[in-house]
Amino acid sequence: MDTFFLGVGFGLVTASVLAISAVALTLQFSVTDVPNFSHGELMTIGAYTALEVQSFTSNLLVGALLAAASGSALALILNLLLRRFIRAGAKRFVLFVITIAYGLLLQNVYQLVWGVDTRAYKLPLSEVHHIGPMILTGRQLAIIAIAVLAMLAVHVMLRYTKFGKAQRAVADNKELARVTGISVGRVVTITWLITGAMAGLAGFILGMTVGAITPTLGFNFLLTVFAAVIIGGLGKPYGAMAGALIIGLVTEVSALYIDPDYTSVLAFGILLLALAFRPQGLVATFREVQA
Protein backbone atom coordinates (compact mmCIF):
# COMPACT_ATOMS: atom_id res chain seq x y z
CA MET A 1 0.00 0.00 0.00
CA ASP A 2 2.87 2.32 0.81
CA THR A 3 4.29 1.86 -2.66
CA PHE A 4 0.89 2.68 -4.10
CA PHE A 5 0.86 6.07 -2.41
CA LEU A 6 4.45 6.61 -3.46
CA GLY A 7 3.20 6.15 -7.02
CA VAL A 8 0.34 8.56 -6.38
CA GLY A 9 2.86 11.15 -5.19
CA PHE A 10 4.96 10.79 -8.34
CA GLY A 11 1.77 10.79 -10.35
CA LEU A 12 0.78 14.17 -8.91
CA VAL A 13 4.17 15.61 -9.88
CA THR A 14 3.92 14.25 -13.44
CA ALA A 15 0.32 15.45 -13.63
CA SER A 16 1.50 18.95 -12.62
CA VAL A 17 3.97 19.17 -15.51
CA LEU A 18 1.40 17.68 -17.84
CA ALA A 19 -1.34 20.01 -16.70
CA ILE A 20 0.65 23.19 -17.42
CA SER A 21 1.71 21.92 -20.82
CA ALA A 22 -1.66 20.41 -21.77
CA VAL A 23 -3.69 23.44 -20.75
CA ALA A 24 -1.33 25.63 -22.79
CA LEU A 25 -1.72 23.39 -25.84
CA THR A 26 -5.47 23.10 -25.63
CA LEU A 27 -6.02 26.83 -24.93
CA GLN A 28 -3.80 27.73 -27.85
CA PHE A 29 -5.68 25.29 -30.10
CA SER A 30 -9.10 26.55 -29.12
CA VAL A 31 -8.22 30.20 -29.74
CA THR A 32 -5.90 29.94 -32.75
CA ASP A 33 -7.41 26.83 -34.37
CA VAL A 34 -3.93 25.46 -35.17
CA PRO A 35 -3.04 21.96 -33.96
CA ASN A 36 0.49 22.74 -32.82
CA PHE A 37 2.88 19.86 -33.38
CA SER A 38 5.90 21.92 -32.31
CA HIS A 39 4.55 22.38 -28.78
CA GLY A 40 7.19 19.94 -27.53
CA GLU A 41 9.95 22.13 -28.93
CA LEU A 42 8.53 25.17 -27.09
CA MET A 43 8.99 23.09 -23.93
CA THR A 44 12.53 22.04 -24.83
CA ILE A 45 13.69 25.64 -25.29
CA GLY A 46 12.48 26.40 -21.77
CA ALA A 47 14.57 23.55 -20.39
CA TYR A 48 17.71 24.65 -22.26
CA THR A 49 17.24 28.34 -21.43
CA ALA A 50 17.03 27.52 -17.72
CA LEU A 51 20.15 25.39 -18.14
CA GLU A 52 22.04 28.32 -19.66
CA VAL A 53 20.77 30.63 -16.92
CA GLN A 54 22.26 28.28 -14.35
CA SER A 55 25.74 29.12 -15.58
CA PHE A 56 25.47 32.63 -14.10
CA THR A 57 22.87 32.37 -11.35
CA SER A 58 21.63 29.53 -9.21
CA ASN A 59 18.32 31.29 -8.64
CA LEU A 60 15.67 28.92 -9.98
CA LEU A 61 13.05 31.67 -10.16
CA VAL A 62 15.12 33.62 -12.69
CA GLY A 63 15.55 30.39 -14.65
CA ALA A 64 11.81 29.78 -14.62
CA LEU A 65 11.01 33.31 -15.80
CA LEU A 66 13.53 33.23 -18.63
CA ALA A 67 12.38 29.74 -19.62
CA ALA A 68 8.85 31.09 -19.94
CA ALA A 69 10.10 34.09 -21.92
CA SER A 70 12.00 31.88 -24.38
CA GLY A 71 8.92 29.71 -24.92
CA SER A 72 6.93 32.87 -25.62
CA ALA A 73 9.49 34.13 -28.10
CA LEU A 74 9.44 30.94 -30.17
CA ALA A 75 5.64 30.80 -30.03
CA LEU A 76 5.46 34.38 -31.35
CA ILE A 77 7.81 33.52 -34.20
CA LEU A 78 5.59 30.56 -35.07
CA ASN A 79 2.57 32.87 -34.96
CA LEU A 80 4.23 35.26 -37.43
CA LEU A 81 5.13 32.34 -39.68
CA LEU A 82 1.62 30.87 -39.56
CA ARG A 83 0.02 34.25 -40.19
CA ARG A 84 1.70 34.47 -43.60
CA PHE A 85 0.21 31.11 -44.51
CA ILE A 86 -3.22 31.97 -43.16
CA ARG A 87 -3.21 35.19 -45.21
CA ALA A 88 -2.34 33.12 -48.30
CA GLY A 89 -5.46 31.07 -47.60
CA ALA A 90 -3.82 27.86 -46.37
CA LYS A 91 -6.01 25.03 -45.18
CA ARG A 92 -5.73 23.73 -41.63
CA PHE A 93 -3.78 20.65 -42.63
CA VAL A 94 -1.16 22.89 -44.25
CA LEU A 95 -0.82 24.78 -40.96
CA PHE A 96 -0.45 21.45 -39.18
CA VAL A 97 2.37 20.41 -41.53
CA ILE A 98 3.99 23.82 -41.00
CA THR A 99 4.08 23.24 -37.25
CA ILE A 100 5.61 19.79 -37.88
CA ALA A 101 8.33 21.40 -40.00
CA TYR A 102 8.89 24.15 -37.42
CA GLY A 103 9.30 21.53 -34.70
CA LEU A 104 11.72 19.52 -36.84
CA LEU A 105 13.72 22.70 -37.52
CA LEU A 106 13.91 23.71 -33.85
CA GLN A 107 14.76 20.22 -32.64
CA ASN A 108 17.76 20.03 -34.96
CA VAL A 109 18.87 23.58 -34.20
CA TYR A 110 18.92 22.59 -30.51
CA GLN A 111 21.07 19.63 -31.48
CA LEU A 112 23.51 21.91 -33.31
CA VAL A 113 23.67 24.36 -30.41
CA TRP A 114 23.59 22.11 -27.36
CA GLY A 115 24.59 18.72 -28.75
CA VAL A 116 22.92 15.36 -28.36
CA ASP A 117 24.45 14.61 -24.97
CA THR A 118 22.24 14.45 -21.92
CA ARG A 119 22.47 17.53 -19.70
CA ALA A 120 21.03 18.15 -16.25
CA TYR A 121 20.45 21.01 -13.84
CA LYS A 122 22.61 21.46 -10.77
CA LEU A 123 19.99 21.35 -8.06
CA PRO A 124 20.45 21.70 -4.33
CA LEU A 125 19.28 18.77 -2.22
CA SER A 126 15.70 19.12 -1.18
CA GLU A 127 14.31 17.97 2.18
CA VAL A 128 11.74 15.18 2.36
CA HIS A 129 8.21 15.73 3.63
CA HIS A 130 5.69 13.11 4.69
CA ILE A 131 2.23 14.17 3.71
CA GLY A 132 -0.26 11.56 4.81
CA PRO A 133 0.95 8.33 3.22
CA MET A 134 2.85 10.14 0.46
CA ILE A 135 6.52 11.05 0.53
CA LEU A 136 7.45 14.12 -1.48
CA THR A 137 10.49 16.34 -1.60
CA GLY A 138 10.16 20.06 -1.08
CA ARG A 139 10.88 20.64 -4.75
CA GLN A 140 8.12 18.28 -5.81
CA LEU A 141 5.72 20.13 -3.54
CA ALA A 142 6.81 23.39 -5.14
CA ILE A 143 6.15 21.92 -8.59
CA ILE A 144 2.65 20.89 -7.57
CA ALA A 145 2.06 24.36 -6.08
CA ILE A 146 3.24 26.07 -9.28
CA ALA A 147 0.88 23.90 -11.33
CA VAL A 148 -2.07 24.65 -9.04
CA LEU A 149 -1.28 28.37 -9.21
CA ALA A 150 -1.00 28.23 -13.01
CA MET A 151 -4.34 26.46 -13.26
CA LEU A 152 -5.96 29.02 -10.97
CA ALA A 153 -4.45 31.83 -13.03
CA VAL A 154 -5.87 30.33 -16.24
CA HIS A 155 -9.24 29.92 -14.56
CA VAL A 156 -9.29 33.53 -13.36
CA MET A 157 -8.16 34.76 -16.77
CA LEU A 158 -10.84 32.84 -18.66
CA ARG A 159 -13.70 33.56 -16.24
CA TYR A 160 -13.12 36.98 -14.75
CA THR A 161 -11.12 39.11 -17.17
CA LYS A 162 -12.25 40.91 -20.28
CA PHE A 163 -9.39 39.32 -22.21
CA GLY A 164 -10.52 35.84 -21.14
CA LYS A 165 -14.00 36.64 -22.33
CA ALA A 166 -12.56 37.75 -25.67
CA GLN A 167 -10.55 34.52 -25.85
CA ARG A 168 -13.65 32.43 -25.31
CA ALA A 169 -15.48 34.46 -27.91
CA VAL A 170 -12.71 33.95 -30.48
CA ALA A 171 -12.59 30.24 -29.67
CA ASP A 172 -16.33 29.99 -30.15
CA ASN A 173 -16.70 31.87 -33.40
CA LYS A 174 -14.06 34.09 -35.00
CA GLU A 175 -16.44 35.95 -37.30
CA LEU A 176 -18.92 36.78 -34.57
CA ALA A 177 -16.07 37.88 -32.31
CA ARG A 178 -14.80 40.18 -35.04
CA VAL A 179 -18.26 41.63 -35.58
CA THR A 180 -18.57 42.47 -31.89
CA GLY A 181 -15.40 44.52 -32.11
CA ILE A 182 -12.85 42.11 -30.72
CA SER A 183 -9.43 42.40 -32.35
CA VAL A 184 -9.05 38.71 -33.24
CA GLY A 185 -5.45 39.10 -34.40
CA ARG A 186 -4.43 40.63 -31.08
CA VAL A 187 -6.22 38.00 -29.03
CA VAL A 188 -4.49 35.27 -31.08
CA THR A 189 -1.05 36.88 -30.64
CA ILE A 190 -1.45 37.32 -26.88
CA THR A 191 -2.73 33.74 -26.59
CA TRP A 192 0.42 32.51 -28.35
CA LEU A 193 2.46 34.63 -25.92
CA ILE A 194 0.76 33.22 -22.82
CA THR A 195 0.66 29.60 -23.95
CA GLY A 196 4.26 29.76 -25.17
CA ALA A 197 5.28 31.00 -21.73
CA MET A 198 3.39 28.15 -20.08
CA ALA A 199 5.06 25.65 -22.42
CA GLY A 200 8.51 27.05 -21.64
CA LEU A 201 7.80 26.88 -17.92
CA ALA A 202 6.53 23.31 -18.29
CA GLY A 203 9.71 22.42 -20.15
CA PHE A 204 11.85 23.78 -17.34
CA ILE A 205 9.89 21.76 -14.76
CA LEU A 206 9.98 18.69 -16.99
CA GLY A 207 13.76 18.98 -17.26
CA MET A 208 13.88 19.15 -13.47
CA THR A 209 11.69 16.08 -12.87
CA VAL A 210 13.17 13.96 -15.66
CA GLY A 211 16.70 15.05 -14.81
CA ALA A 212 17.96 14.54 -18.37
CA ILE A 213 17.74 17.31 -20.95
CA THR A 214 18.14 16.35 -24.59
CA PRO A 215 17.04 18.03 -27.84
CA THR A 216 14.09 15.61 -28.00
CA LEU A 217 12.96 16.18 -24.39
CA GLY A 218 9.77 17.98 -25.36
CA PHE A 219 9.09 15.93 -28.48
CA ASN A 220 9.21 12.69 -26.50
CA PHE A 221 6.75 14.20 -24.04
CA LEU A 222 4.45 15.60 -26.72
CA LEU A 223 2.27 12.57 -27.22
CA THR A 224 1.69 12.25 -23.49
CA VAL A 225 0.55 15.87 -23.56
CA PHE A 226 -1.70 15.10 -26.51
CA ALA A 227 -3.09 12.15 -24.55
CA ALA A 228 -4.06 14.44 -21.67
CA VAL A 229 -5.46 17.04 -24.06
CA ILE A 230 -7.53 14.61 -26.09
CA ILE A 231 -8.90 12.73 -23.08
CA GLY A 232 -10.14 16.08 -21.84
CA GLY A 233 -11.39 17.06 -25.28
CA LEU A 234 -9.28 19.14 -27.68
CA GLY A 235 -9.83 22.84 -27.01
CA LYS A 236 -11.24 22.46 -23.48
CA PRO A 237 -8.86 23.80 -20.79
CA TYR A 238 -10.75 22.28 -17.85
CA GLY A 239 -10.89 18.93 -19.62
CA ALA A 240 -7.12 19.08 -20.14
CA MET A 241 -6.59 19.57 -16.39
CA ALA A 242 -8.62 16.41 -15.70
CA GLY A 243 -6.87 14.56 -18.52
CA ALA A 244 -3.45 15.52 -17.12
CA LEU A 245 -4.43 14.18 -13.71
CA ILE A 246 -5.68 10.90 -15.21
CA ILE A 247 -2.64 10.35 -17.44
CA GLY A 248 -0.16 11.40 -14.75
CA LEU A 249 -1.62 9.07 -12.13
CA VAL A 250 -2.13 6.14 -14.51
CA THR A 251 1.41 6.23 -15.90
CA GLU A 252 3.16 6.65 -12.55
CA VAL A 253 1.02 4.21 -10.54
CA SER A 254 1.18 1.56 -13.27
CA ALA A 255 4.97 1.91 -13.32
CA LEU A 256 4.97 0.18 -9.94
CA TYR A 257 3.19 -2.88 -11.22
CA ILE A 258 4.33 -3.30 -14.83
CA ASP A 259 7.66 -2.86 -16.58
CA PRO A 260 8.38 0.92 -16.46
CA ASP A 261 9.29 0.81 -20.15
CA TYR A 262 5.67 0.10 -20.94
CA THR A 263 4.16 3.08 -19.12
CA SER A 264 4.48 5.28 -22.20
CA VAL A 265 2.83 2.51 -24.22
CA LEU A 266 -0.03 2.63 -21.72
CA ALA A 267 -0.40 6.40 -22.19
CA PHE A 268 -0.32 6.08 -25.98
CA GLY A 269 -2.76 3.17 -25.80
CA ILE A 270 -5.17 5.31 -23.77
CA LEU A 271 -4.73 8.09 -26.32
CA LEU A 272 -5.39 5.74 -29.23
CA LEU A 273 -8.52 4.36 -27.59
CA ALA A 274 -9.71 7.84 -26.65
CA LEU A 275 -9.15 8.93 -30.26
CA ALA A 276 -10.96 5.91 -31.64
CA PHE A 277 -13.98 5.90 -29.38
CA ARG A 278 -14.36 9.35 -27.81
CA PRO A 279 -12.45 11.98 -29.79
CA GLN A 280 -14.67 14.74 -28.39
CA GLY A 281 -13.26 14.06 -24.93
CA LEU A 282 -14.64 12.41 -21.81
CA VAL A 283 -16.59 15.46 -20.73
CA ALA A 284 -18.95 16.70 -23.38
CA THR A 285 -19.85 20.36 -23.25
CA PHE A 286 -23.44 21.44 -22.83
CA ARG A 287 -23.77 22.30 -26.50
CA GLU A 288 -22.55 18.87 -27.60
CA VAL A 289 -25.00 17.13 -25.28
CA GLN A 290 -27.81 19.12 -26.79
CA ALA A 291 -26.76 18.50 -30.37
Binding site: F93, V116, L223, L271, L275, A276, F277
Partner: protein, 343 residues
Protein backbone atom coordinates in the same frame (compact mmCIF):
# COMPACT_ATOMS: atom_id res chain seq x y z
CA UNK B 1 32.20 6.82 -58.79
CA UNK B 2 29.93 4.27 -60.49
CA UNK B 3 29.65 2.49 -57.19
CA UNK B 4 28.69 5.72 -55.44
CA UNK B 5 26.06 6.50 -58.03
CA UNK B 6 24.58 2.99 -57.97
CA UNK B 7 24.31 2.83 -54.20
CA UNK B 8 22.81 6.33 -54.19
CA UNK B 9 20.26 5.31 -56.80
CA UNK B 10 19.51 2.05 -55.01
CA UNK B 11 18.51 3.90 -51.86
CA UNK B 12 16.63 6.46 -53.95
CA UNK B 13 14.59 3.77 -55.70
CA UNK B 14 13.78 2.08 -52.40
CA UNK B 15 12.62 5.41 -50.94
CA UNK B 16 10.30 5.79 -53.91
CA UNK B 17 8.34 2.77 -52.68
CA UNK B 18 7.90 4.50 -49.32
CA UNK B 19 6.76 7.78 -50.86
CA UNK B 20 4.36 6.04 -53.26
CA UNK B 21 2.86 4.28 -50.23
CA UNK B 22 2.58 7.56 -48.32
CA UNK B 23 1.12 9.28 -51.37
CA UNK B 24 -1.66 6.70 -51.70
CA UNK B 25 -2.57 7.19 -48.07
CA UNK B 26 -2.11 10.94 -47.86
CA UNK B 27 -2.44 12.25 -51.40
CA UNK B 28 -5.24 10.02 -52.63
CA UNK B 29 -7.17 9.10 -49.51
CA UNK B 30 -6.46 12.45 -47.85
CA UNK B 31 -5.31 11.44 -44.37
CA UNK B 32 -1.84 12.50 -43.31
CA UNK B 33 -0.16 9.36 -42.04
CA UNK B 34 2.90 9.71 -39.80
CA UNK B 35 3.35 5.96 -39.35
CA UNK B 36 4.63 4.98 -42.81
CA UNK B 37 8.06 4.20 -41.49
CA UNK B 38 6.78 1.64 -39.00
CA UNK B 39 5.34 -0.33 -41.92
CA UNK B 40 8.71 -0.01 -43.65
CA UNK B 41 10.42 -1.29 -40.51
CA UNK B 42 8.02 -4.22 -40.16
CA UNK B 43 8.42 -5.13 -43.84
CA UNK B 44 12.19 -5.03 -43.47
CA UNK B 45 12.05 -7.13 -40.31
CA UNK B 46 9.85 -9.81 -41.86
CA UNK B 47 12.06 -10.01 -44.94
CA UNK B 48 15.12 -10.27 -42.70
CA UNK B 49 13.79 -13.12 -40.55
CA UNK B 50 12.61 -15.02 -43.61
CA UNK B 51 16.02 -14.90 -45.28
CA UNK B 52 18.63 -14.65 -42.50
CA UNK B 53 18.14 -18.16 -41.13
CA UNK B 54 18.07 -19.35 -37.55
CA UNK B 55 19.32 -16.97 -34.90
CA UNK B 56 22.59 -17.83 -33.19
CA UNK B 57 22.29 -17.53 -29.39
CA UNK B 58 22.34 -15.14 -27.56
CA UNK B 59 20.50 -13.46 -30.44
CA UNK B 60 16.95 -14.58 -30.96
CA UNK B 61 14.25 -13.79 -33.46
CA UNK B 62 11.14 -15.45 -34.78
CA UNK B 63 10.76 -17.78 -37.78
CA UNK B 64 14.43 -17.83 -38.79
CA UNK B 65 14.36 -19.61 -42.14
CA UNK B 66 16.31 -19.24 -45.35
CA UNK B 67 13.59 -18.88 -47.89
CA UNK B 68 14.00 -17.25 -51.30
CA UNK B 69 14.05 -13.47 -51.26
CA UNK B 70 10.92 -13.09 -53.38
CA UNK B 71 8.91 -15.27 -50.98
CA UNK B 72 10.18 -13.16 -48.09
CA UNK B 73 9.10 -9.99 -49.90
CA UNK B 74 5.66 -11.48 -50.37
CA UNK B 75 5.47 -12.33 -46.67
CA UNK B 76 6.53 -8.77 -45.82
CA UNK B 77 3.76 -7.37 -47.98
CA UNK B 78 1.17 -9.63 -46.36
CA UNK B 79 2.26 -8.69 -42.83
CA UNK B 80 2.32 -5.00 -43.79
CA UNK B 81 -1.19 -5.30 -45.20
CA UNK B 82 -2.51 -7.10 -42.10
CA UNK B 83 -0.97 -4.50 -39.79
CA UNK B 84 -2.42 -1.66 -41.89
CA UNK B 85 -5.80 -3.37 -41.78
CA UNK B 86 -5.72 -3.66 -37.99
CA UNK B 87 -4.69 -0.06 -37.36
CA UNK B 88 -6.89 1.26 -40.15
CA UNK B 89 -9.93 -0.51 -38.75
CA UNK B 90 -9.32 1.13 -35.39
CA UNK B 91 -8.42 4.60 -36.58
CA UNK B 92 -10.12 5.28 -39.90
CA UNK B 93 -13.64 4.69 -38.63
CA UNK B 94 -13.72 7.95 -36.68
CA UNK B 95 -10.51 9.90 -37.18
CA UNK B 96 -9.78 12.39 -39.94
CA UNK B 97 -7.15 15.02 -40.56
CA UNK B 98 -5.04 16.13 -37.59
CA UNK B 99 -6.64 13.61 -35.25
CA UNK B 100 -5.67 10.80 -37.60
CA UNK B 101 -2.10 12.11 -37.85
CA UNK B 102 -1.77 12.16 -34.06
CA UNK B 103 -3.26 8.67 -33.82
CA UNK B 104 -0.85 7.33 -36.43
CA UNK B 105 2.13 8.81 -34.61
CA UNK B 106 0.85 7.15 -31.47
CA UNK B 107 0.73 3.84 -33.33
CA UNK B 108 4.33 4.33 -34.50
CA UNK B 109 5.57 4.93 -30.97
CA UNK B 110 3.72 1.87 -29.68
CA UNK B 111 5.28 -0.26 -32.44
CA UNK B 112 8.68 1.22 -31.60
CA UNK B 113 8.25 0.47 -27.88
CA UNK B 114 7.15 -3.09 -28.60
CA UNK B 115 10.05 -3.66 -30.98
CA UNK B 116 12.59 -2.40 -28.49
CA UNK B 117 11.11 -4.19 -25.45
CA UNK B 118 9.89 -7.60 -26.59
CA UNK B 119 13.19 -9.46 -26.67
CA UNK B 120 12.26 -12.90 -28.02
CA UNK B 121 10.40 -11.40 -30.93
CA UNK B 122 12.71 -8.66 -32.13
CA UNK B 123 16.01 -9.19 -30.33
CA UNK B 124 15.69 -5.62 -29.06
CA UNK B 125 18.50 -3.29 -30.01
CA UNK B 126 20.81 -5.99 -31.35
CA UNK B 127 18.47 -6.46 -34.28
CA UNK B 128 18.72 -9.07 -36.99
CA UNK B 129 22.12 -9.53 -38.55
CA UNK B 130 23.49 -11.62 -41.40
CA UNK B 131 20.75 -11.04 -43.94
CA UNK B 132 22.24 -12.49 -47.14
CA UNK B 133 22.34 -10.44 -50.31
CA UNK B 134 19.34 -11.53 -52.37
CA UNK B 135 20.12 -13.91 -55.26
CA UNK B 136 23.82 -13.69 -54.46
CA UNK B 137 24.33 -17.45 -54.49
CA UNK B 138 22.67 -17.90 -57.84
CA UNK B 139 24.38 -15.04 -59.64
CA UNK B 140 28.04 -15.09 -58.56
CA UNK B 141 28.63 -11.50 -59.67
CA UNK B 142 31.34 -9.12 -58.54
CA UNK B 143 30.28 -6.57 -55.91
CA UNK B 144 30.01 -3.84 -58.50
CA UNK B 145 28.07 -6.01 -60.91
CA UNK B 146 25.84 -7.14 -58.10
CA UNK B 147 25.00 -3.53 -57.12
CA UNK B 148 23.98 -2.79 -60.68
CA UNK B 149 21.93 -5.98 -60.80
CA UNK B 150 20.11 -5.09 -57.59
CA UNK B 151 19.43 -1.58 -58.85
CA UNK B 152 17.92 -2.95 -62.07
CA UNK B 153 15.92 -5.48 -60.05
CA UNK B 154 14.52 -2.74 -57.77
CA UNK B 155 13.70 -0.53 -60.73
CA UNK B 156 11.87 -3.43 -62.38
CA UNK B 157 9.71 -3.93 -59.29
CA UNK B 158 9.22 -0.15 -59.05
CA UNK B 159 8.01 -0.12 -62.66
CA UNK B 160 5.46 -2.83 -61.86
CA UNK B 161 4.32 -0.88 -58.80
CA UNK B 162 4.10 2.31 -60.83
CA UNK B 163 1.91 0.72 -63.50
CA UNK B 164 -0.21 -0.82 -60.76
CA UNK B 165 -0.73 2.48 -58.93
CA UNK B 166 -1.48 4.36 -62.14
CA UNK B 167 -4.05 1.69 -62.93
CA UNK B 168 -5.66 2.19 -59.51
CA UNK B 169 -5.56 5.95 -59.98
CA UNK B 170 -7.59 5.73 -63.17
CA UNK B 171 -9.91 2.99 -61.96
CA UNK B 172 -13.39 3.68 -60.61
CA UNK B 173 -11.97 2.97 -57.16
CA UNK B 174 -9.31 5.65 -57.61
CA UNK B 175 -11.89 8.11 -58.77
CA UNK B 176 -14.22 7.45 -55.86
CA UNK B 177 -11.22 7.76 -53.51
CA UNK B 178 -10.48 11.25 -54.83
CA UNK B 179 -14.13 12.17 -54.71
CA UNK B 180 -14.18 11.14 -51.05
CA UNK B 181 -11.04 13.14 -50.37
CA UNK B 182 -12.42 16.30 -51.99
CA UNK B 183 -15.94 16.05 -50.58
CA UNK B 184 -16.79 13.12 -48.31
CA UNK B 185 -20.42 14.16 -47.89
CA UNK B 186 -21.09 14.34 -51.62
CA UNK B 187 -19.34 10.99 -52.15
CA UNK B 188 -21.45 9.41 -49.42
CA UNK B 189 -24.56 10.80 -51.04
CA UNK B 190 -23.56 9.01 -54.24
CA UNK B 191 -23.31 5.72 -52.40
CA UNK B 192 -19.56 5.53 -51.76
CA UNK B 193 -18.48 3.99 -48.47
CA UNK B 194 -15.94 6.45 -47.07
CA UNK B 195 -14.58 4.13 -44.41
CA UNK B 196 -14.09 1.09 -46.68
CA UNK B 197 -12.47 3.11 -49.47
CA UNK B 198 -10.05 4.82 -47.10
CA UNK B 199 -9.25 1.49 -45.48
CA UNK B 200 -8.47 -0.10 -48.86
CA UNK B 201 -6.15 2.77 -49.76
CA UNK B 202 -4.50 2.53 -46.34
CA UNK B 203 -3.83 -1.20 -46.80
CA UNK B 204 -2.41 -0.73 -50.30
CA UNK B 205 -0.12 2.02 -49.00
CA UNK B 206 1.08 -0.18 -46.13
CA UNK B 207 1.73 -3.07 -48.50
CA UNK B 208 3.91 -0.94 -50.76
CA UNK B 209 5.80 0.56 -47.81
CA UNK B 210 6.52 -2.94 -46.48
CA UNK B 211 7.65 -4.08 -49.92
CA UNK B 212 10.07 -1.15 -49.99
CA UNK B 213 11.26 -2.07 -46.51
CA UNK B 214 12.01 -5.60 -47.72
CA UNK B 215 14.06 -4.27 -50.62
CA UNK B 216 15.85 -1.86 -48.27
CA UNK B 217 16.97 -4.67 -45.96
CA UNK B 218 18.39 -6.40 -49.04
CA UNK B 219 20.76 -3.44 -49.40
CA UNK B 220 21.53 -2.94 -45.70
CA UNK B 221 22.04 -6.59 -44.77
CA UNK B 222 21.07 -5.95 -41.15
CA UNK B 223 17.97 -4.84 -39.32
CA UNK B 224 18.11 -2.68 -36.23
CA UNK B 225 15.28 -0.80 -34.54
CA UNK B 226 17.49 2.27 -34.09
CA UNK B 227 17.59 2.80 -37.82
CA UNK B 228 13.83 3.26 -38.14
CA UNK B 229 13.02 6.41 -36.22
CA UNK B 230 9.82 8.33 -36.82
CA UNK B 231 11.75 11.39 -37.98
CA UNK B 232 12.51 9.60 -41.27
CA UNK B 233 8.81 10.02 -41.98
CA UNK B 234 9.41 13.76 -42.35
CA UNK B 235 11.76 13.06 -45.27
CA UNK B 236 8.95 11.21 -47.02
CA UNK B 237 6.51 13.98 -46.19
CA UNK B 238 8.87 16.52 -47.70
CA UNK B 239 9.39 14.42 -50.84
CA UNK B 240 5.65 14.05 -51.44
CA UNK B 241 5.01 17.79 -50.93
CA UNK B 242 7.85 18.92 -53.18
CA UNK B 243 7.01 16.58 -56.03
CA UNK B 244 3.31 17.26 -55.99
CA UNK B 245 0.90 15.61 -53.62
CA UNK B 246 -1.37 12.99 -55.22
CA UNK B 247 0.62 12.87 -58.47
CA UNK B 248 2.70 9.67 -58.58
CA UNK B 249 5.13 11.03 -61.19
CA UNK B 250 5.62 14.14 -59.10
CA UNK B 251 6.18 12.05 -56.00
CA UNK B 252 8.92 10.06 -57.75
CA UNK B 253 10.55 13.32 -58.86
CA UNK B 254 10.19 14.76 -55.35
CA UNK B 255 11.88 11.74 -53.80
CA UNK B 256 14.80 12.13 -56.18
CA UNK B 257 15.08 15.86 -55.45
CA UNK B 258 15.04 15.32 -51.70
CA UNK B 259 17.69 12.61 -51.95
CA UNK B 260 19.97 14.87 -53.99
CA UNK B 261 19.27 17.88 -51.78
CA UNK B 262 20.16 15.90 -48.67
CA UNK B 263 23.46 14.59 -49.94
CA UNK B 264 24.41 17.94 -51.45
CA UNK B 265 23.40 19.86 -48.32
CA UNK B 266 26.17 18.31 -46.29
CA UNK B 267 28.75 17.79 -49.04
CA UNK B 268 30.24 21.28 -48.82
CA UNK B 269 30.31 21.36 -45.05
CA UNK B 270 33.70 20.24 -43.80
CA UNK B 271 33.44 16.93 -41.98
CA UNK B 272 34.87 18.46 -38.82
CA UNK B 273 33.08 17.80 -35.59
CA UNK B 274 30.86 20.68 -34.52
CA UNK B 275 31.10 22.71 -31.31
CA UNK B 276 29.84 19.73 -29.34
CA UNK B 277 32.31 17.26 -30.77
CA UNK B 278 29.76 15.30 -32.78
CA UNK B 279 28.71 14.68 -36.35
CA UNK B 280 26.19 17.39 -37.17
CA UNK B 281 25.45 16.38 -40.75
CA UNK B 282 22.19 14.64 -39.90
CA UNK B 283 20.89 17.63 -37.95
CA UNK B 284 21.76 19.90 -40.88
CA UNK B 285 19.97 17.55 -43.25
CA UNK B 286 16.82 17.71 -41.19
CA UNK B 287 17.03 21.50 -40.99
CA UNK B 288 17.22 21.59 -44.78
CA UNK B 289 14.21 19.26 -44.97
CA UNK B 290 12.20 21.46 -42.59
CA UNK B 291 13.03 24.62 -44.56
CA UNK B 292 12.17 22.87 -47.83
CA UNK B 293 8.76 21.84 -46.47
CA UNK B 294 8.02 25.41 -45.39
CA UNK B 295 9.24 26.92 -48.66
CA UNK B 296 7.22 24.53 -50.81
CA UNK B 297 4.06 25.07 -48.80
CA UNK B 298 4.56 28.83 -48.97
CA UNK B 299 5.28 29.27 -52.65
CA UNK B 300 4.12 26.13 -54.42
CA UNK B 301 1.79 24.09 -52.22
CA UNK B 302 0.66 21.97 -55.17
CA UNK B 303 4.25 20.82 -55.77
CA UNK B 304 6.42 20.79 -58.89
CA UNK B 305 4.12 18.47 -60.82
CA UNK B 306 0.64 19.19 -59.52
CA UNK B 307 -2.23 16.78 -59.77
CA UNK B 308 -3.97 17.12 -63.12
CA UNK B 309 -7.27 18.89 -63.31
CA UNK B 310 -10.10 17.91 -65.54
CA UNK B 311 -12.31 20.20 -67.60
CA UNK B 312 -14.61 20.64 -64.64
CA UNK B 313 -11.68 22.06 -62.70
CA UNK B 314 -11.74 19.31 -60.11
CA UNK B 315 -8.27 18.21 -59.02
CA UNK B 316 -7.48 14.62 -59.71
CA UNK B 317 -10.13 13.84 -62.26
CA UNK B 318 -7.58 14.36 -65.03
CA UNK B 319 -7.53 11.40 -67.40
CA UNK B 320 -5.00 11.22 -70.23
CA UNK B 321 -6.80 12.04 -73.46
CA UNK B 322 -4.79 9.57 -75.52
CA UNK B 323 -6.52 6.57 -73.96
CA UNK B 324 -9.85 6.36 -75.69
CA UNK B 325 -11.22 3.41 -73.75
CA UNK B 326 -10.59 5.19 -70.45
CA UNK B 327 -12.05 8.34 -71.88
CA UNK B 328 -15.17 6.45 -72.89
CA UNK B 329 -15.58 5.01 -69.43
CA UNK B 330 -15.12 8.48 -68.04
CA UNK B 331 -17.73 9.91 -70.40
CA UNK B 332 -20.28 7.31 -69.41
CA UNK B 333 -19.83 8.33 -65.81
CA UNK B 334 -20.30 11.98 -66.64
CA UNK B 335 -23.32 11.27 -68.79
CA UNK B 336 -25.09 9.38 -66.08
CA UNK B 337 -24.47 12.24 -63.71
CA UNK B 338 -25.09 15.22 -65.93
CA UNK B 339 -27.71 14.10 -68.38
CA UNK B 340 -30.25 12.47 -66.18
CA UNK B 341 -33.73 12.66 -67.66
CA UNK B 342 -35.14 16.11 -67.22
CA UNK B 343 -38.69 16.61 -66.15
Amino acid sequence: MTQYVTSFLEVGVVFMFFTIGLNIRWGWAGDLDLSVFSYVAVGAYITAVFTAGRAVPPDEWIIGVRWPFLVALLAAMIVGAVLSLLFGMLALRRLRGDYFAIGSLCFTLIVYAVISQVLPLFDSFQGVTGVPQPFEGALKLSQNGYDIFYLVFSIAILAVVYVFTQHIYRSPFGRSLRAIRDDPDAATAFGRNVYVSKLKAYVIGGMLASLGGGLYVGILGTWNPFAWSSSETFLLLCAVLIGGIANTKGVLLGTFIVMVALTEATRYIPALPGPNGQDDSEAIQYIVVALLIMAVLRWRPQGILPEKRDRDGVAGSGIPRWRPQVLLAERRDHDSLAESPKP
